[in-house]
């Protein structure tokens, strides 16, 4: 896409070396990083093989080390976060651009961006102190009432669990989704909107059928960034998910994610546990990379569709 710029032979030579050097250095850091994680994880991979991914029981110390519950909980909490944050985030972005009066728009925007700067431990504490009592007394009984205590709202009302982790994550990724999708929506040409309106479409039709589709590449990017943060979030999740590595039997069940388990258990880890935790880091890297690659494929497809 970007055209290759020809640098003039003599005067720009040091500059060229500097740029190449920086790029090579960065590449080398990534390779070394992956290699060191792989190196630490290797004893566990050799000893436990596929059981690391498919095993249903995880225990620090002497094992067994089966990460299936951690993988499922990681994906489930991220999914919950996206289900909540994506519609709210897109609606807020649209509202910020088109509905809210100009004079409070900037304040509202900077408030949302401020949320992105709040350290995650603060979200964790908020979940622990304020959301847990509200979950146990109000939200969980209410949800259980809807299904009559059946799936997916069965089980004890403990507050701690995948649903709470998902909600905390949703709040954490919301600013990312709002800020980025607002920026990409703002560059949708106003001719498109005016054209839609002049053809007799209502505002809501224009937003959902013209604005969002034409900004979809950027929106996929926003969602992918949000998902990346949710997948890798550590301390806030560790504080509210209940740290009980099990396959979820309901949305109320306590669990543990890949990242939260690494954070919780690393301090006490020796030998095989260290290696197994490195294997978790590797799985997390693979999952995050796949999400990014997936978003890229979607973006490319959308770009082709546009042209």
């Amino acid at each position: 896409m970007a055209e290759r710029i020809r640098l003039s032979a003599t005067s720009d030579r040091p500059y060229k070396f500097l740029l190449r050097g920086a790029a090579l250095f960065f590449g080398a850091v990534i390779i070394l990083f992956v290699w060191s994680v792989l190196h630490t994880a290797w004893p566990a991979i050799r000893a436990f093989g596929f059981h690391l991914v498919t095993g249903k029981t995880w225990a620090a110390g002497n094992g067994p080390f089966g990460a299936l519950p951690l993988i499922v909980d990681t994906l489930l909490t991220t999914l919950i976060a996206l289900v909540i944050a994506v519609p709210i985030g897109l609606a807020s972005a649209l509202a910020l651009l088109y509905l809210i009066p100009q004079r409070i728009r900037n304040t509202a925007s900077s408030l949302i961006e401020l949320l992105a700067a709040v350290p995650s431990v603060v979200y964790g504490l908020w979940g622990l102190w304020f959301l847990i009592p509200w979950f146990t007394k109000t939200l969980e009984p209410f949800l259980a009432g809807i299904t009559g205590g059946g799936w997916p709202f069965n089980g004890a009302h403990e507050g701690f669990g995948v649903l709470l982790a998902g909600v905390v994550l949703a709040v954490m990724i919301l600013p990312t989704i709002v800020a980025i999708s607002r920026d990409v929506i703002s560059v949708v040409p106003s001719e498109l909107i005016e054209g839609g309106l002049s053809l007799g479409a209502t505002r809501s039709q224009v937003y959902t059928r013209v604005v969002l589709p034409s900004a979809r590449t950027g929106i996929f990017g926003a969602i992918a960034l949000g998902a990346g943060r949710a997948l890798g979030e550590t301390i806030a999740v560790a504080m509210v998910i209940g740290s009980n590595p099990q396959l979820p039997h309901s949305l109320f069940s306590s669990g543990a994610t890949l990242a939260s388990t690494i954070a919780t258990e690393f301090g006490e880890a020796t030998g095989s546990t260290t290696s197994a935790l490195a294997a978790l880091a590797l799985m997390l890297m693979i999952i995050t990379a796949s999400v990014n690659a997936g978003a890229r494929v979607l973006t490319n497809r959308a770009l082709k569709g546009n042209s």
Binding site: A60, L128, I132, G242, N244, S254, T264, G267, T270
Partner: protein
């Protein structure tokens, strides 16, 4: 509440001061050390900063003991006294052992002695590979430094409000069943039976009781365990294993042996995991119906939630206190812990004592260091004879009773002073440290 606690503590301190003064006299016959704090200029101690870390069980003790040690030493030795020692890092028992093996800690602390073998498995097999002196158990000396109880903290606000006088009573069978997922309700028959005082009574006009029903709340029990590897978990599991044997089992039905991770990851679906003592306490505090095992100082110093009373081996109901833990430790005086030539510590477990007044869930914590620092280079930022001497003098002081000794600090922080027979062992261990096979010549 706070002043009340202070007064109570004062009384305890006074009584225990007496007891421990007696203990020192008692141990005098075989004791070789008395916590000598004299430092000469040649010791170069003033600027040394040995790194220490490990067990989070020990954090309140060491972080209070280190500054006290420095000020006590300054009183005796003035400007020659150590003045640069950093605080202790509560990285966890396993990290303490790992750190001292790797040479990042001068002293590592662990609630389970290094090289402990449980059911044929050496818990430190992965780090003690015998590849060189640093990975060989016999190169280390292990010194008991503090004694503490493990409390079952529970969160039943309605019950505490109405029956605060009668903290819930639990026994090992019920605890095993709770942590196996067999007993799931607070008003289960087994718990009601243990708590005859917690009842709603109906009286007739003459005031005679005609009818009483269990008043334990109809709430699910949420067992909270340590999600990270932990010496506190070891002590708790050791207690369940010794009292329940094969009754304390995995869902598959196999007997569970003590280890640093709870029940090999097989916990009830309702269970919550917490990180370190503070995490377990936070989980219990946030969960009505929760119960979790934490070190005593977390109950004493936070004192927001009560600890359950436990039925001991003599069928007495005991609450967690300095006296009841001391009684438990005293019950094992005929089989004192000892370290053999290979560095293995035996008879360190003191759960389920058979004496009168014993609170049955308790254990020692151990400071671990290299036995001879000659030729081992720098460990935890210090090296050589001066480094080893400083660390040895610190540990010597830590295990001393009396108002100027380390055990007095321990008491203030919610631990129980070491019983005399363990102080003797601790002093012998410190006295056995050598440099280039020569005794350090401590007093």
């Amino acid at each position: 509440m706070k002043t009340n606690l202070r007064v109570k503590l004062g009384v305890i301190v006074a009584t225990l001061g007496l007891v421990s003064a007696m203990a020192v006299v008692d141990a005098g016959a075989s004791a070789t050390l008395n916590g000598d704090l004299t430092f000469a200029a040649a010791d170069g101690a003033a600027s040394l900063n040995p790194a220490m870390g490990g067990s989070s069980f020990d954090e309140p003790f060491f972080n209070s003991a280190i500054p006290t040690f420095m000020s006590e030493a300054a009183r005796v030795s003035g400007s020659n006294a150590p003045s640069a020692i950093s605080l202790y890092s509560p990285t966890g028992s396993s990290a303490g052992k790992k750190g001292v093996i790797a040479g990042t800690y001068a002293v590592g602390a662990s609630d389970v002695p290094m090289g402990t073998v449980v059911n044929g498995v050496n818990l430190d097999a992965s780090s003690l590979t015998n590849a060189n002196a640093a990975t060989t158990l016999s190169s280390y000396t292990q010194v008991p430094v503090v004694l503490g109880g493990v409390g079952m903290m529970y969160n039943l606000p309605s019950l505490t409000k109405k029956f605060g006088k009668y903290p819930v009573i639990l026994n090992s069978t019920v605890l095993a069943d709770i942590y196996d997922g067999v007993t799931t309700k607070w008003n289960s028959a087994a718990i009601c039976k243990l708590n005859p005082k917690i009842v709603n009574v109906k009286k007739n006009k003459k005031g005679k009781v005609i009818h009483s029903t269990c008043a334990m709340p109809n709430l699910p029990i949420v067992p909270v365990y340590r999600a990270d590897g932990s010496g506190t978990t070891f002590i708790f599991m050791d207690y369940l294993n010794q009292t329940q044997g094969a009754n304390f089992k995995t869902p598959a039905g196999a007997e569970v042996y003590p280890g640093t991770s709870f029940n090999q990851g097989q916990v009830p679906t309702t269970a919550l995991g917490g990180q370190k003592n503070a995490g377990v306490a936070a989980d219990v505090e946030q969960t009505v119906g929760g119960v979790g095992y934490v070190e005593y100082s977390y109950i004493l110093l936070q004192h927001t939630l009560p600890a359950a009373r436990i039925v001991n081996a003599k069928h007495q109901i005991e609450s967690l206190s300095e006296t009841s833990v001391a009684a438990d430790a005293a019950a094992f005086s005929s089989t004192p812990p000892k370290e053999n030539a290979n560095g293995q510590v035996s008879s360190f477990s003191i759960v389920n004592g058979t004496g009168s007044g014993d609170y049955p869930i308790a254990g020692y914590s151990w400071a671990i260091l290299r036995s001879d620092w000659n030729g081992i280079g720098t460990v935890g930022g210090v090296s050589g004879l001066n480094g080893e001497k400083l660390v040895a003098k610190f540990l010597d002081w830590c295990v001393q009773g009396g108002t100027n000794g380390g055990q007095h600090v321990a008491m203030e922080q919610g631990y129980v002073p070491l019983p005399s027979y363990v102080t003797t062992l601790a002093e012998q261990q410190v006295a056995s440290l050598t440099y280039n096979n020569q005794s350090l010549g401590l007093n």
